[in-house]
């Protein structure tokens, strides 16, 4: 019973930190801080000080402000990608599980097909075909991400498809679509939400990596990944330019991964 008391804190704490970080980045235009893209030739490459807590970069831009602004894209893209993945995976999963047969075979072959690529290389391929930008990153992440949702939901539908309440609904003359949307789908929604929580940590890192590779949001827009790649050359003379954006990624991903871990424990997910 002690477990029930302990779990919410492990769940809530990372969630609260993420909400705080994301809220700060969303509200950043309203905050009384510098303009993230303002070039200040008077204060180039200043180490962290009272005025610039994370220092400034080679164009005199405030790193602290850029990290806060960057969170909007870095966290936002991951959340949108998780949402797109969940919606596509959800649709494919319930259709595959409920109707079975040829549809199931085709959908699951597509899933197997996608999973047989090294995920980052596939994301790179997609990002190269499409013009670089945040939408491309969302598409690249979701193109791989939906598969785990589809597999999970399909498995869940298979177990509830033959339960007696579904039979009862069918006996009352409900159509397939009605059963699917009103009786089965609602039972799969919580599972998708849990899966989103589990996947987000990885999505944050993929977004950061694609941004680092220059395939994400283009300059001067700040994202954590692109700040690191742009400032990499100054690592010896101005390490704060790289350290703080990296800490932002690591802390966010850590919170998401902790959240995912607690969710896994709570809902008895297996690592796979």
């Amino acid at each position: 019973m002690a477990k029930i008391n302990k779990t919410p804190l492990k769940l809530l704490l990372p969630l609260l930190i993420i909400v705080f970080l994301f809220a700060a980045s969303l509200l950043s235009p309203l905050l009384p801080i510098y303009d993230p893209n303002k070039i200040d030739l008077e204060s180039l490459k200043r180490p962290p000080n009272m005025e610039h807590p994370f220092g400034t970069d080679n164009k005199g831009r405030d790193i602290f402000v850029r990290v806060i602004y960057g969170g909007k894209i870095s966290i936002g893209v991951a959340i949108v990608a998780a949402f797109i993945s969940a919606v596509i995976g959800f649709g494919a999963g319930i259709a595959s599980g409920y109707f079975g047969g040829r549809l199931d075979t085709v959908l699951m072959s597509v899933v197997d097909f996608i999973l047989s690529f090294p995920s980052l290389l596939l994301a790179i391929a997609i990002s190269v075909i499409l013009p670089p930008g945040i939408y491309t990153v969302m598409i690249a992440i979701s193109a791989v991400g939906w598969t785990s949702f589809a597999r999970l939901i399909r498995g869940h539908v298979l177990t509830i498809r033959d339960m007696s309440f579904v039979d009862a609904a069918r006996a009352m003359g409900c159509s397939d679509l009605r059963i699917l949307f009103l009786h089965i789908a609602p039972l799969c929604i919580p599972l998708s939400l849990v899966m989103m929580g589990i996947k987000l940590g990885g999505f944050i890192l993929t977004e950061a990596t694609l941004s680092f590779l220059g395939l994400g949001a283009q300059p001067p827009t700040a994202t954590w990944g692109s700040m690191i790649s742009a400032n990499r050359a100054y690592i010896l003379t101005a390490p704060w330019m790289v350290i703080f954006p990296g800490l932002a990624i690591s802390i966010t991903a850590f919170c998401f991964n902790m959240l995912g871990e607690s969710l896994k424990e709570r809902y008895e997910f297996k690592d796979n």
Binding site: F113, S116, M258
Partner: protein, 310 residues
């Protein structure tokens, strides 16, 4: 066994179609002439004319795709726009370096991951378990392009213990291999822990305890032997993470492998190079997965090869 391997090899075919189709879309999505996009503008007119004939510019999309496949089947992946060198030749030359890096990373990740997972499972709920848990989640949360830069800053640039970049002997290999091993080690620790916890719940462990076997013997004979199968599988399946990670680590440490080659291609928009690397990387990944599957089925005779046990 042979039938199974054959079946898995046959499954490679649609996969290759898929990836080459993707690459071909890429060629067509580029502005301008796809043939020029493939060979680069510096190629000689005869070469361009030959390739144009081979692809069949006048044959429509499907005809062109078939022509492209023919070209690939001759091992002609096109030429780099920048160096005008044969892409496949460069890949074949750089591939051993990537494999060296991946194996070195495995050499660090596998023993450490298994040992940490073992300790974590045996000390479940204790302080040390929680510590390993936090460390492994941290390992999964730090982007390797960042840890690579930070480790390079401290160990090579400040302390000057290792050369900051280059390809060569173990001094050059140590840092990129360590960086590459971090996420893999974390994954392995977690999988080992859950696997061992599952095994410890099994009735045969209770039986062994009831028989009064010494616990060291139970750990080795009963636990380790049963845990090794899922662990081997994960090591193989996680190979993709080494390939993914190689793109970043090789770039930062200047290691002359396929990962850096890919990254260079992306930066310079050198499409034949990007395509070649993606096709090659996918094939390597699929082949490693196939080998893993075969090893897995070989290690565990309970699982029938053609059965659907997954």
């Amino acid at each position: 066994m042979a039938a199974y391997v054959l079946k898995r090899l046959l499954l490679l075919i649609p996969l290759l179609f898929g990836i080459t189709l993707l690459a071909f879309f890429l060629l067509n999505a580029l502005p301008g002439d796809p043939v020029l996009s493939l060979v680069g503008e510096r190629a000689s007119p005869e070469v361009i004319e030959n390739i144009r004939k081979e692809i069949g510019v006048d044959k429509g999309f499907i005809g062109q795709y078939i022509g492209y496949l023919k070209l690939l089947s001759h091992g002609d992946f096109g030429r780099s726009y920048h160096t005008n060198r044969d892409v496949l030749k460069d890949i074949v030359m750089k591939f051993p370096n990537t494999m060296r890096l991946a194996f070195a990373a495995m050499l660090i990740a596998v023993p450490l991951g298994i040992v940490l997972g073992f300790i974590s499972a045996y000390k479940r709920g204790r302080f040390i378990d929680r510590l390993i848990n936090v460390v492994s989640i941290t390992g999964l949360s730090i982007p390797i392009f960042w840890s690579a830069i930070i480790i390079m800053l401290f160990l090579s640039l400040k302390l000057k213990l290792f050369p900051p970049s280059g390809t060569g002997d173990i001094r050059f290999l140590a840092l990129p291999a360590f960086v590459l091993s971090i996420p893999a080690m974390a994954t392995l620790t977690r999988v080992t822990r859950t696997t061992i916890l599952d095994i410890l719940k099994m009735p045969y462990i209770s039986t062994a305890r009831a028989k009064g076997l010494p616990s060291i013997k139970i750990s080795i004979v009963h636990v380790l032997k049963n845990a090794i199968i899922p662990i081997v599988t994960i090591i193989g399946l996680d190979f993709g993470s080494y390939l993914n990670g190689a793109v970043v680590t090789e770039t930062i440490f200047g290691w002359d492998g396929i990962g850096r080659f890919t990254m260079d291609g992306i930066i310079k928009r050198d499409y034949p190079v990007i395509m070649g690397c993606i096709i090659f990387g996918t094939v390597v990944f699929v082949v490693v997965n196939l080998i893993t599957d075969i090893v897995y089925h070989y290690l565990d005779p309970r699982i029938r090869l053609h059965g659907k046990n997954k």
